[in-house]
Symmetry: C2
Subunit: 453 residues, 2 copies
Amino acid sequence: MIIEKKDSDNFQNRRVDPDLIIKGGTVITMSGDMEPIRDAAVFVTDGIITDIREINVNDHFPDLKAEIIDAHDAIIMPGLINAHSHTAMTVFRGIADDLPLKKWLFEKIFPAEARFLNPDTVYWGALLGCLEMISSGTTCLADGYFFQDSTVQAVHESGLRALIAQGVIDFPAPGVDDPRKNLETAQKFIEKWIGFSDLITPGIFCHSPVTCSRQTLTGAFKISKDFGLPLQIHLSETSEEVNEIMKQEGVRPVHYLDRIGLLDSSLIAAHSIHLDPEEMEILSKKGVRIAHVPESNMKLCVGTARVSKMAGMGLDIGLGTDGCASNNNLDLFQVMDIAAKLSKVIDLDPVSLDAKTVLAMATSRGASVLGLERDTGTLEKGKKADIIVVDTHAPHLCPIYDPFSAIVYSANGADVKDVIVNGKVLMKNREFKTLDKTEIMAQVNNISKSITI
Amino acid sequence: MIIEKKDSDNFQNRRVDPDLIIKGGTVITMSGDMEPIRDAAVFVTDGIITDIREINVNDHFPDLKAEIIDAHDAIIMPGLINAHSHTAMTVFRGIADDLPLKKWLFEKIFPAEARFLNPDTVYWGALLGCLEMISSGTTCLADGYFFQDSTVQAVHESGLRALIAQGVIDFPAPGVDDPRKNLETAQKFIEKWIGFSDLITPGIFCHSPVTCSRQTLTGAFKISKDFGLPLQIHLSETSEEVNEIMKQEGVRPVHYLDRIGLLDSSLIAAHSIHLDPEEMEILSKKGVRIAHVPESNMKLCVGTARVSKMAGMGLDIGLGTDGCASNNNLDLFQVMDIAAKLSKVIDLDPVSLDAKTVLAMATSRGASVLGLERDTGTLEKGKKADIIVVDTHAPHLCPIYDPFSAIVYSANGADVKDVIVNGKVLMKNREFKTLDKTEIMAQVNNISKSITI
């Protein structure tokens, strides 16, 4: 079966040889009818997918000078998209677990961030996060944090695709001692990095409607509009936040954000837990994008997002890991498994959030959430080559009756064999090609020795 | 630090050289004060742990002829214990997902079992399950299924420790066409295998109080008592089951089982979801053991066990995977992570089921549940050497502030480097020493081609 040529494609007519061929596996495109293509190959030229088609198992393409990735018996699929993360928080992984939320945040995490975050720790922490994401099949991430020049530098070195947003909060924050300067800092960050790389989109991340004033929220929104960029925010993560907004504004958070003009398709609302049906309806009408982070929500016990209900209303929902202080890893395979199972428990319905739907949330839908659906999220001719190969030579991936089930319910990040972003191989046979694992882990281990909370 | 000598130990006075030394890592004993021992080694002679102590990093033990397992920078801990599984169901892994429970069970799984289970499929399916358990750090399992001679054979070849129970149900079942012969079949199974191996304990598994008559239940209980063996059962997995018993017997299932004399410390009750506080109190008083299977419960959406409440009542609770048709893998690391997070959601308390508690459920408590606490579940002098080594040279295990957190919230089965059972190395540097992975996977893949439902 050959993937249908899209009208926008002109690759059929270009005489270009592929420089990368991923060959011999089952391709899950996550586009069209989503029917897996067996014994197929994906051809890549200049970072773009130029063809996906069945091949003869004996095809070796000796005339082509392309790099060959052997995907024999493997699953070739779009790289996973992490729709919500604070990548550099790897430096705080597991430092404060099994605690009440307020104690965790105000006695542990905020003080740790204030004391130990600096351009150096964020750089190494973000590099470690990139290493972990590559090792578990993530090719694109949305990040919101502080000292974001360091995150840009780390992500750039890693070769990952990313939306990297400068954190904005109306308190003294790491790197922004005077909160009156938070918007200015964010604008400068965007100006510095916009256009720097095809792979990196800068942006703003407002911490929440409670921790940012109306002025800050609308100011951030204006900046994001001026540059045509998404705006990230934590929305209704806790019931306390909802109560606080009700007290301050007399309405629930979504109504408040609607009133101040923040709701449109450029807003990425992470968590989105404590929403009433009317709020969901408004978010849906306005085209707001949702980042669902089930592992963090469960671990911090903040509540449970009604994901299948929101998906049923047509909302675009992606999956995120959140930071490593509340998850404690960046493995989106685990997030998919837990998202599917948690939804069933919450809906009291074993049919809720099936494997295909949840895999779409981690790929094609995730790309939409980040506004990157023209580039990534599916394997189609003309899209950027953001591809992972999942090795199925593992006992827990045997047998495979349904590759979607195998990916969501049986696989884990360690099954990912090869990772390609924008046509560049970042991991091959589990060997990192852009990052020095030993150096990064040594640096973070060293940093961790000075961190006590 | 040297582990305290127990009164029952006589190893201090025996002049025996170790035949196996696991050296250089952080030891989590899961006994005593549970304080990790850094830069330590575990010494094993004739399958028994003879010493656990700090060593000098340069100690190479050149005079000893022992096999050395390098655990430098790794975590050395008790092997995990799977308190509830149907191992051979790997052949049905992912064959019927995201379906309503009744359709899943009556239209898919029961017919598939009737058509495709035979001594051969159970043998290869169980071998695959053993392979997967070894690869993810499980050293001991409780299994209940049919054609159990095949499971015994497979587990015996694998070198794992196991409680293997013949399934009993009052319907025609795989291998037992006439349900009137189910107890006789179970008794013969026990007679055949009792004393066969130190590692394998045979037993009986009653499918449930609904699918087994009072006569079958009491008959099975009598047989288990006659041989001094545990009795496994599915207890209150669904609300339908509770309603059915209420209709038939006028009381809830625990009261019913109490009335017919089934409740004592030899009963292992899997699921144990739909229990009222009085039922939990009775189970606690009678010393019944619980096998908690959160992943399967979530996926089939049967309900949520009140684990922290039951643990607070003093009930011994272990963790299980259930079969691969409802999980869909046998990775107890994932089960630990989900057990901790689900408990927090259910209790609305982020402190519920902390990392240490959940790790105890997968090790020391799990051993108690299976009645094997004298042999396994902790690393102590005099115990059997059931040990795993978790490699921490992975991005997602960096940094480690707390090894318990790292194991429960960050690690996965693929991080397990070495597996030792009864002093025998079953996996070394992820290479299987007892089982032929290629052959087993080829056989199960071949079997799966004939399975259509």
